[in-house]
Assembly symmetry: C2
Homo-oligomer: 376 residues x 2
């Protein structure tokens, strides 16, 4: 794929399908689009993700970007209708899709063959937005995000099928869109996302749902802790029904552990003065400390690999630019920047992340230049 | 207080006490410090939070910034040792402290009197950091954060004590440090923080503790969702033991609801194909949608009151400054800025939040100026 600039058919022009189309077009590929909703397809065409597919067109790669619950069926159709194409899907749960396909391939009544499945590779781009639909799409959505590639494993022999060309094609696509490819089995993928994606979603929804009856006076005290924990609770219920029911076994396994922890915390807090109560609470928080220390930073960086400093600025146009001009003059690269703007106070705080070795030097230089700098 | 520049004694020079000292010094107050740990007190003095207190000095206000478990005792001592001073505490749970003080005041054996309690006001600044201790302190910590003020309510008559001068003094201090004052009873405060602070902390710790045994391959797929949900799990176990055991009743009440939701989700996911299963999952996620929509934005702004646009920049010094110079030239104020820097790709994405009415104008102007702009 790196050389050939294959033609690609994207089936399904939601947020992800349209973003794939946009990214591939930007990389010089010819992209065809089709979606059961003429409106969604038209929007995807209008934003430049590709052009309407005509059945006589030949394609090298079909990307099935349909909702999870119809993905297996769409993949089977694509394998039959495009007998020489590689077919990939991007559904966020992988073992269930693969199981359906293998069942159909084993069924002599079904048109799908074992041989056909060699052209299929399941994938999952770990990217998304709180908004959905083709309007929210952007070609840069996958930049530096993980993209999981699941070669087919034979359920009887546990061996990987020979499908090197298909896997290479799909891996090249992920990389062309700026993602980092991670190869693992569908089962391992589903266990991994149950833990690092589905559990956080459930926790965010559990916390946010308790806020429904909260008094406005309580909500007015909300801080960044609550905002961070509940941000992803704004997700689409229809999509999550499909994801959680397709991945129910690994998710429920994790929830048994959560239930046990909640039970223990409840008994402790029902009588916090009882012997061992304080130790129980401390253990839960300490276990959280150990767990969170294992979460990699953005783009796989080790956690907290940068140092921060905060510059206090006036809250008017041009102030952040002025700070950054001076930072550039010192010659330090800003690795991340976070701004807090304080409505009532005419003052803003700009937190800069820089390489630890350069932080003190930068703080001194900015102070000399007249900025109010706080080391954080 | 607005005029008088009172002298203030800060008892306890951890993160919050030292930050209060720094902020008050910056505002022109005379600040005395004392801490049972000579090292902590010395650091607080060295960073400029105040000077060592000598018992002969008179103070108008005593700020008790001790750990929660010794706060009531420290407040009682301060009321006795400083018979003309207002005394406030800043512990994050309020009803337990107040109950101890009122019990002692009702006890003829105890030196504390009912009259003395009129000089006490419980408060809770809703500010903190993941780091602790005087070294992490900064005077700007409270800028535009809520600061809860709890006037004393008589537990027998449910009436507020007459203590206007003390409440005014304490409110002025919160405002001087840049915070917004919220008055409510200790009971209402504790119920509020159980929901908007203690529940998110527990949820973050529950999720993070599940990560302890995760495989590195799974953690490598971590996205912003997991990072956001678990960030506050890095908190201090010793502090949280004190907070959760002091506020156990309201917290356990909320956890009963969480347990019920977890139970229902587990039964649903044990048999996701059973009738009603999909509806149960959809309901949990939809309830989370409604709850999170009620969380105010930073500084009390309504959620999502700004519009976003993203500018793609080269990943080298000076690029963000160059974007912001051009934004300033267009004359649009940046309300918030978030940067994503992609290690392997020599490209960064700068997301700007601006007033919705100015977004399209800014996007067009920046595009004309040669920037690659994506509306988000």
């Amino acid at each position: 794929m790196a050389e050939a600039r294959e033609t690609v058919l994207v089936r399904g022009t939601g947020l992800l399908g349209t973003s794939i189309g946009l990214g591939l077009r930007a990389a010089g590929h010819e992209v065809w689009l089709s979606d059961p909703s003429p409106t969604a397809q038209r929007i995807a065409e209008d934003v430049g993700a590709g052009v309407s597919w005509s059945p006589e067109k030949d394609v090298e790669l079909v990307v099935v970007a349909s909702p999870p619950e119809v993905t297996a069926q769409e993949v089977a159709h694509a394998l039959q209708n495009h007998p020489h194409s590689v077919v990939m899907d991007i559904a966020s749960v992988k073992a269930a899709v693969l199981k359906d396909l293998l069942d159909w391939a084993d069924d002599p009544q079904h048109a799908l063959s074992r041989e056909g499945i060699r052209r299929y590779v399941g994938t999952h781009p770990m990217a998304g937005r709180e908004k959905s639909g083709p309007v929210a799409a952007r070609g840069e959505l996958f930049t530096s995000m993980p993209w999981v590639i699941c070669p087919v494993v034979d359920p009887h022999t546990q061996e990987q099928l020979t499908q090197r060309e298909a896997v290479d094609t799909v891996t090249a696509l992920a990389r062309r869109l700026g993602a980092s490819a991670h190869q693992m089995s569908a089962v391992k993928h589903d266990q991994s996302v149950a833990l690092i994606s589905h559990l956080p979603q459930i926790a965010a929804s559990l916390v946010a749902s308790r806020l429904q009856e909260a008094e406005p006076g309580a909500l007015a005290l909300s801080g960044n802790g609550l905002r961070d924990v509940t941000r992803i609770a704004a997700s689409d219920p229809n999509l999550w029904v499909q994801i959680l029911s397709a991945n129910s076994a690994p998710v429920v396994e994790i929830l048994y552990g959560v239930r046990e922890d909640v039970e223990r915390l409840i008994s402790t807090l029902e009588d916090p003065a009882a012997p061992g109560g304080h130790a129980d609470i401390a253990q839960l928080i300490a276990e959280g400390n150990s767990g969170v220390a294992r979460v990699p930073g953005k783009h796989g960086a080790p956690p907290q690999s940068f140092s921060q400093l905060t510059v206090i600025v006036d809250d008017r146009p041009g102030q952040i630019a002025a700070v950054l001009n001076d930072v550039a003059e010192v010659g330090v690269n800003v690795e991340d920047l976070h701004m807090e703007h304080s409505a009532g106070h005419q003052v803003g705080m700009v937190e800069l992340s820089v390489l630890p070795a350069r932080r003190n030097e930068l703080a001194e230089a900015l102070t000399t230049m007249g900025w109010k700098v706080v080391l954080s």
